[in-house]
């Protein structure tokens, strides 16, 4: 019975010491998810949504300035950025903080269209630091409390939160006495734990007092006694956390992904039609095609529907690539008249132009118009990525340039200080130079006549040959290095041009402050300072940000519908089907002339989407798509066959 009481006590202590209300954590977590799903930007998640917008903007600007590639051997994941939002938020309680740290994993899973897992939860920095912080605090507290009582009993400290304990004085000292002084109010739960185990507790202290241990070895044993009584406490504390984690995952998996269900429905319907009504197969395919277009138009969420994106992405990219190549080859094939060649060439160029022509010009998301982005963590991160981090392209190129200039400097330095002085020294040693007088405007070498005589010719030749070889070598290396130096300067300018095109005066100022640090740190770059300055001043700021179709959700839907229709048009020989898919292509082309109120911009896959309401869209791509549809239809479809 006593043991049962002890176990219950440990459970109570662990729950009490965990110092958070598990139910409240669960409640906060559910609220966060609900608010997120309802996109309620004004309540508890206001700061979060603002930061998510900034995260989206950060990736958007970053991609425009330096591209999507990561140049670090260990690229930063979205977990790091989400955790940074956690760090920047102020929480009213540990329950809220704990729930929010798990909610971020829910958000990460949502953004990537995958399920939340225990592994992902544990590896989210915001979550593991929150949990570890509180577990650690709890352990520190309990170790200090019991440690203080033990040290008091051993006569190593004068005060203790619990004094009803036998004294076993020992002649020793503590290396870290602060670890054995509990400064808060006495705790009933710990006192109870000591009372319950008093006999064993005192026996262990007595045994320890009989040893000659001191310093860190003694501390190790004191902590060992404390840990002996706290092992189960840690176990229960961890158990509580694990149970909470299971709740987080279960709660997140309640939402069902209906977009996946459609594939199952298609499959079952396809099997039924194939077995029982084969003659209606073409209607099944047309129906499937129509349903998919409806799905894409009204339900497809490009950032979350990873399966559809993957299926369509891989099929369409491969098919369009093959179609494009075949069309290009047909341009040069035999037995074609000029009209056929021209139409094939147009089809090929049309496909390329649809993909590469900037379709949208974003006005309201240029960096000067997004004031909420200024002076945030994510603006600072943008600065890190563009210049501060060692793997930032500008940073790397400047360092290579400095290294080349440094090598040039030390080579020249070494030539004069070592090789030239050795040449002089050799001549002095050989009795040719007598002395050298250096005055402000005059260098005079006093020579020994005997040393210049022909009898010394071997030395002269050897000495001059060595010296001239040194000169040739240094000139060769210097000229060779010059090419590299010029390339680095060009690369730096190219990078700066990309960055400055999308940087307003404020961001340019911050960039320049970092850029100038390179010049302040080393005089090697001094010669390039004015060149870079005037180059930077000449870069024009882009008042609009150009985007391709595939950079936006709207444009991607159009692209998918268009190319999906095009591929089916080519695959199926049935005339009716060709006509339906031709209508599909025209339909997608006409969608290009409809301007949505908000344009959903993909900052990057697995990152938040940002929205623009002030933008222009080019009609050219729409016209190309219509012309392309008509050309393909009349060239390969309706009339000929």
């Amino acid at each position: 019975m006593k043991k049962l009481l002890l176990l219950s006590l440990l459970l109570i202590i662990s729950i009490t010491l965990l110092s958070f209300d598990v139910d409240l954590v669960k409640s906060h977590y559910k609220t966060f998810i609900n608010e997120y799903e309802e996109n309620n930007r004004e309540e508890v998640l206001k700061v979060f949504f603002d930061e998510m917008d900034n995260l989206g903007l950060y990736r958007f600007y970053r991609n425009k300035m330096i591209g999507t590639a990561e140049f670090s051997d260990r690229p930063t994941s979205i977990q790091t950025y989400l955790s940074r939002i956690h760090q920047n938020m102020k929480f009213k309680s540990i329950e809220e903080e704990m729930a929010f740290s798990a909610f971020l994993v829910y958000v990460q899973s949502e953004l990537s269209g995958t399920r939340m897992t225990l592994e992902r939860l544990r590896s989210m920095p915001a979550h593991f630091t929150t949990v570890q912080k509180y577990i650690q605090e709890m352990q520190e507290d309990s170790l200090t409390y019991l440690g203080n009582v033990i040290a008091y009993s051993l006569g190593l400290v004068e005060d203790s939160p619990y004094k009803d304990i036998k004294k076993f004085p020992m002649n020793a000292r503590l290396t870290s006495p602060s670890w054995y002084l509990y400064l808060d109010e006495p705790s009933d739960v710990f006192d109870e734990l000591i009372k319950e185990n008093k006999e064993e507790f005192e026996k262990m202290i007595e045994d320890l007092s009989k040893t000659r241990l001191t310093g860190s070895n003694l501390e190790f044993e004191i902590d060992g006694i404390s840990e002996h009584f706290l092992t189960d406490l840690n176990y229960y504390a961890n158990l509580n956390i694990e149970n909470l984690r299971i709740f987080f995952i279960e709660e997140s998996s309640k939402k069902f992904n209906f977009s996946l269900l459609r594939f199952l429905v298609y499959l079952i319907a396809g099997i039924i039609v194939f077995i029982f009504a084969k003659k209606y197969l073409k209607f099944y395919i047309i129906g499937l095609y129509g349903l998919e277009i409806i799905y894409f138009l009204f339900f497809f969420d490009i950032s979350r529907d990873i399966i559809s994106s993957f299926v369509y992405g891989s099929i369409i990219v491969l098919s369009v690539f093959l179609f494009g190549i075949i069309t290009l080859l047909r341009v040069f094939s035999r037995n074609k008249n000029i009209l056929q060649r021209l139409s094939d060439l147009f089809v090929f160029l049309g496909i390329v132009l649809i993909l590469i022509l900037p379709t949208y010009q974003i006005i309201d998301l240029t960096i000067d118009k997004t004031n909420e982005f200024k002076n945030t963590y994510f603006e600072n991160q943008l600065l890190n990525d563009t210049i501060i981090y060692q793997h930032a392209k500008v940073n790397r190129h400047i360092n290579v340039l400095k290294s080349l200039l440094g090598t040039e400097y030390s080579e020249i330095n070494s030539f004069y200080s070592a090789r030239t002085s050795r040449y002089i020294q050799d001549n002095i040693n050989a009795g040719i130079f007598d002395s050298i007088n250096i005055q402000s405007n005059n260098v005079r070498i006093n020579l020994n006549r005997d040393g210049l005589l022909y009898s010394n010719v071997d030395f002269h030749r050897q000495s001059l040959e060595n010296y001239s070889e040194n000169i040739k070598r240094i000139l060769r290396a210097s000229k060779f290095r010059e090419g590299f130096i010029e390339n680095e300067v060009k690369d730096i300018k190219k990078e700066i041009e990309n960055i400055f095109r999308y940087s307003d005066s404020d961001f340019r100022k911050k960039f320049n402050a970092e850029f100038d640090k390179f010049f302040a740190a080393s005089d090697l770059l001094e010669g390039y300072k004015n060149d870079f300055e005037s180059f930077k001043n000449d870069i024009e700021y882009s008042e609009k940000i150009p985007l391709n179709l595939y950079n936006t959700g709207h444009g991607t839907k159009i692209l998918v519908i268009f190319f999906f229709s095009l591929i089916l048009f080519i695959i199926f020989e049935n005339k009716k089907f060709k006509f339906v898919t031709f209508i599909g292509m025209l339909f997608a082309s006409f969608l290009m002339f409809i301007k949505p109120t908000y344009l959903d911009i993909l900052s990057e896959v697995r990152y938040p989407i940002i929205y623009s309401s002030d933008y222009t869209s080019s009609l050219i791509v729409g016209l190309i798509m219509i012309t392309l549809s008509l050309t393909i239809y009349f060239r390969r479809g309706g009339i000929r066959k």
């Binding site: 019975m1 043991k3 049962l4 002890l6 176990l7 670090s72 051997d73 260990r74 690229p75 930063t76 790091t80 955790s83 940074r84 592994e119 544990r122 590896s123 920095p125 593991f128 630091t129 949990v131 570890q132 577990i135 650690q136 352990q139 520190e140 170790l143 670890w179 501390e219 190790f220 902590d223 060992g224 404390s226 002996h228 092992t231 189960d232 840690n234 961890n238 991160q381 890190n384 060692q390 793997h391 360092n399 290579v400 400095k402 290294s403 080349l404 200039l405 440094g406 090598t407 400097y409 030390s410 330095n413 070494s414 200080s417 070592a418 090789r419 002085s421 050795r422 080393s522 090697l524």
Partner: protein, 365 residues
């Protein structure tokens, strides 16, 4: 019921009283590299001797083994040691999955902006402060004015080793107005002694007489090459006694040497390994385990061990001290003082090396 509870309590007590266990995961160099992995393992073995803990080692043969090995170790250990920069990603992925296990990363640092879980203690070294002296010593000892360098892979700790070495040579050149050149090459692996040997032979043929390696087990080939080249130059058998080697060096006023890395490798070819640039991975491993064993005081986060903390340094040169003039040691002692006082900063990258200038240093003797 009472019996069950009693059994459970006894079981809990028995389980909790099992010895503390440390498991080390080697990098692909594996144990027997006589370098980095062996050095760390020496620290682990020392922990067993002095702290009475249980120890285990898991050898990684491929980089893809890292995650599985770390997970396996974490499942039955109290502390897991991950050795080598290449294991960084795996360590940062696995450690949060085992919050009750402590992890020690030797030569592993976080990437920029990365959060270090509180159950990881990372030990990094200012390697350049050790190899600065090997470079200085090589420049002072060379008779051909050419010294060599063979690296394993161009990863940050190895680059720091190289930069320190080249800075040492540059310092000697600047202070003494000499023109000692450094030949350099990378083997692209830490576990390929044959390539190391081939590269060393090529550098000896190009005129180098001293070669420093920072290449793990690959560097064992460099030491072999120095022994073969040196013995052949002296006209001695490869097993000749140390006295004969030293006499031959003085007689010829020249010789061929390797310089070891990470641990004291002088013993691997006495008389042919001039010195070794050591980083005390053994000390870091022992220190990490000692603190991990305690309930408190685990050195979570990044710990940088430098010359001042004796975390890096040169081997005591048990076999070759007599080959180097006392003045060189005096100079190095003075330079060491400047480094410890923070008056001399050794470059850790090519940019800093490009602007490294010690020509103003004047020895007070």
């Amino acid at each position: 019921m009472k019996k069950i509870l009693t059994v459970l309590l006894v079981l809990t007590f028995v389980l909790s009283s099992f010895a503390f266990k440390a498991t080390m995961i080697t990098d692909v160099g594996g144990l027997g590299d006589k370098s980095f992995n062996d050095g760390t393992w020496a620290g682990v073995v020392r922990a067993r001797e002095e702290l009475g803990i249980d120890i285990e080692i898991i050898i990684s043969t491929e980089q893809t083994d890292y995650v599985a090995n770390l997970q396996r170790a974490a499942q039955n250990s109290d502390v897991v040691l991950a050795v080598g920069f290449l294991m960084a990603d795996a360590l940062f992925n696995v450690a949060p999955q085992f919050p009750n296990v402590r992890f020690i990363g030797i030569d592993i640092g976080p990437s920029e902006g990365q959060t270090v879980p509180t159950n990881i203690a990372l030990y990094l070294f200012k390697e350049q402060e050790a190899t600065f002296f090997t470079g200085y010593l090589a420049a002072a000892t060379t008779r051909t004015e050419k010294v060599g360098y063979v690296g394993g892979m161009e990863i940050p700790p190895v680059i720091r080793l190289e930069m320190g070495y080249r800075a040492g040579v540059a310092a000697y050149n600047q202070i003494h107005n000499t023109n000692v050149q450094v030949l350099r090459s990378y083997a692209g692996a830490f576990d390929n002694p044959a390539t190391g040997k081939r590269m060393a032979e090529a550098q000896f043929n190009q005129g180098a007489d001293i070669i420093f390696h920072a290449a793990g087990a690959t560097g064992n080939g460099v030491i072999d090459a120095a022994r073969e080249k040196g013995a052949s130059f002296y006209g001695l058998s490869q097993n000749a006694p140390l006295t004969a080697i030293i006499e031959a060096f003085y007689k010829n006023d020249a010789g061929f040497f390797a310089i070891g890395v990470d641990v004291d490798q002088d013993y691997m070819a006495p008389g042919y390994v001039l010195t070794s640039g050591m980083k005390r991975v053994d000390e870091a491993a022992f220190r990490g385990i000692s603190t991990a064993r305690r309930a408190r005081g685990f050195e979570t986060g990044v710990n940088i061990l430098d010359l001042a903390q004796q975390g890096v340094g040169m081997s005591p040169m048990m076999y070759t001290k007599g080959l180097v003039p006392n003045r060189v040691f005096a100079e190095m002692e003075y330079l060491e003082k400047l480094i410890v006082e923070g008056k001399l900063v050794i470059p850790e990258n090519a940019t800093q090396l490009g602007t490294f200038n010690v020509s103003g240093i004047v020895f007070p003797f």
